[in-house]
Assembly symmetry: C2
Homo-oligomer: 559 residues x 2
């Protein structure tokens, strides 16, 4: 089979204005083109559609993944192509790839095989400049903070307490912990600082949770950048930064429209981390899709304990959106992994391990239906090494839970490979739901109760414990009036517990909170359980060494 970039480079793309007009009925005058195959859809036009009925929202999530991932993005694209191929007005809503990992180990993030969004190289590199705009606004605020301190510090900001970090869209471990302001008087006050990757920034989360320029500016103004010596929060508004930061994000806020390899429309917009942030593409794009199409297929990062939880408890809670059905992506490989097979041995048939690993998928299905109250199907994303007997076992095991499972081969076959899945999704959507949509916890619960609800209801934990310092931060955050915010749990995606090696469906474990961070602008409190990497590093042999530009402008070596 050809590589992802070979398939993408060989694709014949249609002008994006034709895709917009024919698939979504958007007139060219409402598009801002970026090259011939990317466009932003004007926010004013989208606002004018406010009275339109909303289409159906299909949420793609997954069981706890193995390190290489189970194919949520390819399934989102494949399912979109299948629905599109069946003649339904359908749009995918995906996250924008981060450029950092493209040059490291992970490679691109625009789907794969015959289920990709294109132009693949553009989407993976720079795209329409959204991440650069977010970085510029983020770093302007950082400069204004140090500048305020340098020029007299009228707000009495305690430089030891500054929480706002600088960002770059690069994997660069050397920037994780730095000291800035060295070199004497002219360079400001020396202090400890650090850089995060753009996708880990609060500003990225804000960007993905807002739909208007006015709301964007309002939320940016509420960002808490640090504390005074007296311990009171200092906001971006007090620094006079929110207007200029919003101006820097004006154009970026309009959703980006591209196409799949099969010509279906796709919004690719925003891309927050799924640990320190909520891991979903923008509300602006999702709402636009629901107004323009009959079906929106979108994904949430990591497994259903993390991504779908945040989709429900943060994105839906703040936007009023509701998924109509969830597609839980499972693979034979991941089930065997949760059944105790080592990563290197997942290629061999092992029906007993598939059955044993079902404990993981079973709990995710129970959470999706029983806690979030969303009807669901399972997509069995087929890998070449999967045997027919293993695939049949997954279908049978899901059926025992009362959930239909559909093998899908969209990676190899494009939309045709996900046609059964699409038909199954349409069936569920046509039935009355047996479930009532619900959040995991109420706004009124204390922050502690919110974390406990997630830990006990979703993770199977029996106990939440807190570092003393995390507990004090939590109390301070509640004291400062942020106790009504939802929580955003940052923990490993590989397990229901905080131990990445605890596969399956652990119970009775302890969730230990190491750190608490306030994201007042985004409107949530991050609860850090275990290590959290907000600036990745490059591997010993980074993929940057393979990426090249041919003399004719063709980009090679992206994966």
């Amino acid at each position: 089979m050809l590589s992802d970039i070979e398939i993408a480079n060989a694709a014949v793309l249609r002008p994006i204005r034709d895709v917009a007009a024919e698939t979504l009925g958007i007139d060219e005058e409402h598009l801002s083109p970026y090259g011939r195959h990317k466009a932003k859809v004007d926010l004013g036009y989208l606002a004018s559609l406010a009275d339109r009925p909303l289409g159906k929202l299909i949420l793609v999530t997954a069981l706890s993944p193995t390190p290489p991932g189970e194919g949520k993005t390819t399934t989102t694209v494949g399912l979109t192509d299948a629905l599109h191929g069946l003649g339904h007005r359908t749009v995918a809503c995906l996250r924008e790839p981060s450029m950092g990992p493209v040059f490291g180990m992970k490679g691109g993030a625009a789907g794969g095989g015959h289920s990709q969004v294109v132009p693949m190289t553009d989407i993976n590199l720079h795209f329409t400049g959204d991440f650069a705009a977010i970085a510029a606004a983020n770093n302007l605020l950082a400069a204004l903070i140090d500048n305020h301190v340098h020029h007299g510090n009228a707000l009495d900001l305690d430089t030891r307490s500054i929480t706002w970090r600088r960002v770059l869209d690069v994997n660069d471990r050397a920037l994780r912990e730095v000291v800035v302001g060295l070199g004497g008087h002219a360079n400001g006050f020396t202090r400890e600082d650090g850089f995060d990757i753009v996708v880990a920034s609060e500003l990225m989360a804000i960007f993905c949770l807002t739909e208007s320029w006015a709301d964007l500016k309002q939320r940016i103004g509420e960002i808490v950048v640090g504390y005074t010596r007296a311990g009171n929060p200092v906001t971006a508004r007090e620094l006079g930064a929110h207007g200029a930061m919003a101006a820097l994000l004006r154009d970026a806020l309009a959703p980006n429209l591209v196409q799949t390899l099969e010509g279906a429309p796709a919004f690719v917009h925003g891309g927050p981390f799924a640990n320190i942030a909520h891991g979903c593409s923008s509300v602006a794009a999702t709402r636009a899709g629901l107004r323009l199409a009959d079906y929106v297929v979108t994904e949430a990062g990591f497994g259903a304990d993390l991504g779908a939880e945040k989709f429900v408890d943060i994105k839906c809670r703040k936007s009023g959106l509701r998924p109509d059905v969830a597609v839980v992506v499972a693979t034979v490989r991941a089930l065997k992994y949760h059944g105790g097979v080592a990563l290197a041995d997942l290629g061999a048939e092992d029906l007993a391990a598939v059955e044993a690993g079902m404990v993981n998928l079973r709990r995710h299905l129970a959470n999706v239906r029983g806690v979030y109250g969303i009807p669901c199907v399972v997509a069995v994303n087929r890998f070449p090494t999967d045997t027919d007997a293993e695939i049949a076992a997954v279908v049978r095991l899901a059926a025992a839970e009362g959930v239909r499972a559909f093998p899908a081969t969209h990676f190899a076959d494009g939309g045709a490979g996900a046609r059964d899945l699409a038909t199954g999704v349409l069936e569920v959507l046509a039935e009355p739901s047996a479930f009532t949509f619900s959040y995991t916890y109420d706004d009124e619960a204390s922050l502690t109760e919110k974390v406990e609800a997630i830990a006990t209801r979703l993770y199977g934990a029996s106990l939440v414990t807190w570092d003393a310092r995390a507990r004090r931060r939590l109390e301070r955050i509640e004291h400062d009036g942020y106790g009504g915010l939802p929580v955003c749990v940052a923990k490993t995606q590989y397990s229901f517990s905080t131990d990445p090696h605890a596969v399956g469906a652990p119970t009775g474990h302890e969730i230990h909170v190491r750190e608490v961070r306030l994201s007042a602008g985004a409107g949530f409190v991050v609860v850090v359980c275990g290590d959290m990497m907000t600036m990745p590093g490059l591997p010993a042999t980074p993929s940057a060494g393979r990426i090249d530009l041919a003399d004719d402008g063709t980009i090679l070596g992206l994966s």
Copy 2:
């Protein structure tokens, strides 16, 4: 009079595809649009024009400026509009503004008054993403350097000798001197580092001196990032970084086309500093303009001792381009300043000071004609406080040098205000040149001789002295085989000397070289005389506090 942004926001812009077709004969298929009013012109199309005759190249330069500047960019735009209004196929070639100063003190850099390029807010903020692409490629190389050291350091790179700095497009003094790699083993090796603003990067200079993807990659490969413990240079090619960096710059390399307020075409592309780099917009854009239009009006940063010198000795030398005429911008204010009047008192008529300050303009005119061998005119950029007697004095004093001077009011009146200037430029272009174009020094001269030629022939200095360390670096650079490169002098723009307060035309002074830096990829050796700021700071009341985004998406407060 309205503010710049009020004028710009009130302008009715034409679709850029219409501007391209009607003013330059570029078919829409050769454009990559960025929104409706910006487009990149495809490099492949430009290469297909190689057989076309070249238009005339008009270089806008200036006398030694006062701190607020003398209006080179507005004169470039005004003259373009005047030629365009006279029915000549004309295009302006300008530098892209840096976003950092927009939020600091300087504001935007897209012209001013009724001589602006538009869309003004877009051009000043993000534009088509070129600077973000340059920053991404620059910082990828930085990450690859530290990553190489972290993973075994096979090249034996001496971390004390790393010269490649990280960049951001923000004014942020706290980043001038930093320590990176803190926090222990996982974060790499601790070392001193620093950030420059994007426009001060060598990569920006490379970007502005190349015209093809192949040459871009070649030059990037030659970047020297530091030295081994044995003292040998280590290049970006040895780190395997050049292919990925070139890929990041693929789209950026195509020139950006916008329009003036009067509908003339303008390429706005690249924007290197005029001290640490050569201060001119891209060769790719200039050459494109010369193939597409009969007249190209372009500017070089700072006064003619710095910007025009680098235009000639670096940009022309490397590209084979030749200016056909120079427009030396002078103001009554600057002449009075060089005649000894304090900055605060420049508003009062002072004919004696104008006459005294003529020494500065006189030397620039002598350099332009006698050293570079370019015929020239003087544009007297008129300010509201200038009296008719003062303006007449400048015209008379220039005439005494054998140079025609033309008062121009394009700031207030647009192209109509520069019509006399345009007519004068056309007259000079129609005459046979009395001068022979020449570089200030030959390639074969030693680096020392090159600096001495600039200092004595252009600056009026009698002596060049060197810090011992700078001298050693120079010797090492020559030993490593870079002695044939041109030099790029970084010194104050306010004086022919290295003392910014030495107005007029000082003679017999000493030029002291404090530091020498190799830009092997860009292909020049930077000779630093005096302080050089490669990362600006923000003022006590930054303009960021005035810049705002209205609820309807209008950006306010840019200047």
